[in-house]
């Protein structure tokens, strides 16, 4: 079953990439959603999204304070511990200040591994920023060409765009099965499918997604009729125990606008015209992450998702010390409230503390069900 395959992959997310490098394939770890993975793919390498790890941080303590946040600290820990030693390089972009600092720290403490910096602006408005954004993307392309010793040909780029776009389409189809009434896909499977995509080749992922969609079409996911549909928002959700817990509380994920979810895959690359420019435009125009301005694209995406899924409430899963999301949260909460949509904030440090979360989600589900929200 595809579901079992996803679970097997996620049990050791880096195993496949180790295998690839044993086979002589080059893998590039990507630390953010503004890395044009299509370039890496077209250069004959494999982009792998690095999402940290839930283990203890000890080595990285010597370089990053606790308030740099678990994601940045655990990625540095992985690097220092040698867990990522099989990667040909890592690509860092200007996301949060902490993740940006990883580029400097990589150069200082893991100098044997190539670190790329895609030095894009945070402000995605205005002609000047657009020019600089485009140039940063082109510089990255040049660096990749130097790194591999090969020019990125248009034909290869088009092939990569097609593979990535297919991946995005399949994931969007999956999202619509999830928010169908009744849902045709369980929330747990949906999350596993998305997370697997970060550590598989896009081709492998597409195969598995096709199988999943085939087996899910026409079917109704069991026991979902009485579950309250909820929307989940936040930068990252990797804790696979969270959705089963939500289910136990009488609710389920019906839609999301996660940084590691639909915000990552929603926008496609235009397949007409110059492929390099089309890739640049895709990243410039994509649904913004919390560490980019303007925020309105993200807000509209969140609203659209809620409308699609008819979610009765929103759970914000926000990483502790993720300033960008913590500033957004009260604004989003109030905007939702003015539309009569209740929301709940949960703190995460890549994992959600289960006992506290259970109580809070349970209470929230009761409120949503009882309509006691005002």
């Amino acid at each position: 079953m595809v579901q079992t395959e996803f679970a097997r992959i996620l049990a050791d997310p880096l195993e496949l990439s180790r295998q690839w490098s044993r086979e002589g394939r080059k893998v590039i770890g990507c630390l953010d959603s503004y890395i044009p993975e299509e370039f890496i793919h077209a250069a004959g390498m494999i982009p792998l999204r690095i999402l940290g790890s839930t283990g203890n941080v000890t080595l990285a303590d010597s370089y990053l304070p606790v308030f740099a946040g678990k994601l940045a600290r655990s990625i540095l820990e992985q690097g220092l511990r040698g867990d990522l030693v099989h990667l040909a390089g890592v690509a860092v972009s200007n996301s949060s200040d902490a993740v940006r600092m990883l580029y400097d720290l990589w150069g200082r403490h893991i100098p044997q591994q190539r670190a790329f910096l895609i030095d894009v602006p945070a402000i995605l408005e205005g002609e000047t920023n657009h020019r600089v954004f485009r140039q940063a993307m082109l510089d990255f392309k040049d660096e990749l060409e130097k790194f591999t010793g090969k020019t990125l040909e248009s034909a290869a780029l088009r092939r990569s765009i097609a593979v990535f776009n297919e991946n995005r389409k399949l994931l969007k189809e999956m999202a619509s099965l999830l928010s169908a009434s009744p849902p045709r896909l369980s929330a747990e499977t949906y999350l596993d499918a998305i997370l697997s995509g970060f550590v598989l080749t896009k081709e492998q992922h597409n195969d598995l997604l096709r199988q999943l969609l085939e087996s899910s079409s026409g079917k109704t996911s069991e026991n979902t009729e009485k579950l309250v549909p909820l929307h989940v928002s936040g930068p990252i959700l990797v804790d696979r125990s969270f959705l089963p817990l939500v289910r136990k509380c009488g609710a389920t994920l019906a839609s999301e606008d996660l940084g590691t979810g639909s915000r990552y895959f929603w926008d496609e690359v235009d397949e007409v015209g110059d492929p390099v420019e089309a890739i640049v435009e895709r990243y410039w125009n994509k649904i913004t992450e919390s560490y980019k301005t303007p925020m309105e694209r993200r807000w509209l995406h969140l609203l659209n998702q809620i409308e699609r899924s008819r979610a009765a409430g929103v759970i914000f899963v926000i990483e502790k010390y993720s300033d960008e999301d913590q500033y957004d949260y009260p604004v989003w909460r109030d905007r939702l409230r003015s539309r009569g949509i209740p929301s709940l904030l949960l703190d995460s440090e890549l994992v959600l503390e289960s006992e506290q979360v259970r109580t809070r989600v349970q209470t929230f589900v009761e409120i949503v069900k009882g309509g006691a929200f005002s």
Binding site: F67, D97, M101, T128, N129
Partner: protein
């Protein structure tokens, strides 16, 4: 701390007493501007300040206002209000103070220092010091529903590259018509260049003072200089800043010529990294009882007010605004600090691990390690916050500092 020398009373430089007057004047000027219906912009650290003075737009600094609140022990109440509104205790405390005011009783609350913060017509900020600043301004915009402009920049390793300069100037060329159009003001290059001249003169004086503090004994310590820095942040281009800094510089120069130190019998020289604890500036002067002095701060030297070569004003303007400690890569910070620690003859360094200002605090461990390895200068880490006193643990911090000073003293023998 145990007293080993007679305590020095009052300010080392008499001119430092002018600081409070300049500050009051600035905030009263802002209020007047508002009342007279002239444009007011809320701005943040490292915005292109000279543009505002040149255009007659009053630049109001909520960050400074938060620091003022902290220094009169009023920050905590506003932080708590912001937290009640849903803003995490882990966010920058300057922003929590400000959001506590804005979303609480409002900026016109008469019980506020200086009678309140003048309402903004416009918001301008920049990512040069940090990204949270931009997010904070987004919240403020949500509240006031007014136009906003953000100046972006990527981190630098000196010298500033041509592409970084062009990125900056390109945005300035967008900012000026934006301000003209939204606030009905007119940009005149001559006035701007004249403002740059005033700004540069103030920066020159300030850097002179900083350099004079490399003298042994040091003429003035950190506590006093933190109280003097404000015009360098907010009033570059305003002639009053030049007057004030001239007085300070002349006095400091005289002290150095006469070999007069802020601390009698100066024995230990210290450096400081990060924003000070505004509610506890006494931390700096307490060490003076041990014949020690804080005589160098990255915050006072590299965060505000660099020099400009006005033969090429626009290039100089861009260089100056991008050449900011918070925007330095870690390697650049190391390079700069190593040479300064030697120049200022520092015996030890204190890193304020400031939970509010993450961008300042990240990379400090590398600085400390390199400083120890390359030049044998030890450092101490204290964990706290620049404006939220709840993050400061008095007793353990004092013990740490005592032990550190004892260690430095022992090293001298």
């Amino acid at each position: 701390m145990t007293s080993a020398a007679p305590k020095k009373k009052g300010r080392a430089l008499n001119s430092s007493y002018e600081a409070a007057i300049v500050l009051k004047d600035y905030w009263e000027g802002a209020a007047r501007h508002r009342v007279e219906g002239r444009p007011v912009a809320w701005v943040s650290g490292n915005v292109p300040i000279e543009i505002f003075w040149a255009l007659g737009i009053y630049p109001v600094y909520p960050e400074n206002y938060s620091a003022v609140c902290a220094s009169i022990q009023r920050a905590q109440e506003f932080c708590e209000t912001a937290e009640e509104k849903g803003y995490s205790i882990d966010l920058c405390s300057y922003s929590r103070v400000n959001l506590g005011i804005v979303l609480g009783k409002g900026v016109d609350d008469p019980t506020l220092p200086y009678g309140g913060i003048p309402r903004p017509d416009m918001l301008v900020t920049t990512r040069i010091p940090c990204l949270p600043q931009v997010k904070w301004w987004e919240v403020v915009r949500e509240h006031f529903d007014i136009p906003m402009f953000v100046v972006d920049a990527t981190m630098v390793e000196l010298p500033v590259s041509e592409s970084q300069r062009q990125h900056y100037l390109g945005q300035i060329r967008e900012l000026i018509p934006f301000l003209e159009q939204k606030l009905a003001v007119r940009f005149h290059e001559d006035t701007f260049i004249e403002t740059l001249r005033l700004s540069d003169r103030a920066a020159e004086l300030w850097l002179d003072i900083m350099d004079l503090r490399a003298a042994v004994p040091s003429p003035v310590g950190s506590r006093e200089m933190c109280g003097n820095v404000f015009p360098l942040v907010a009033m570059l281009g305003n002639p009053k800043t030049i007057d004030f800094f001239s007085h300070l510089r002349d006095e400091a120069q005289q002290c150095v010529q006469e070999g007069k130190g802020a601390v009698e019998n100066e024995r230990i020289r210290l450096g400081w990294d990060n924003i000070p604890m505004w509610y506890n500036l006494k931390f700096f002067s307490d060490v003076e009882d041990r014949n020690a002095i804080f005589t160098y701060e990255t915050y006072l030297r590299y965060v505000w007010g660099g020099r400009m070569d006005l033969n090429d004003p626009w290039t100089a303007f861009a260089n100056k605004h991008l050449d900011v400690w918070l925007n330095y890569s870690i390697n650049q910070r190391i390079k700069t600090l190593l040479s300064d620690v030697v120049k200022f003859k520092l015996d030890g360094f204190v890193f304020h691990q400031n939970r509010s200002c993450k961008r300042f605090s990240m990379g400090q461990r590398d600085l400390s390690q390199v400083m120890q390895e390359k030049i044998g200068v030890p450092s101490l880490f204290i964990e706290s916050d620049m404006a939220d006193p709840r993050a400061y643990a008095e007793a353990p911090t004092r013990v740490k500092m005592e032990t550190f000073l004892e260690m430095l003293e022992a090293k001298k023998h």
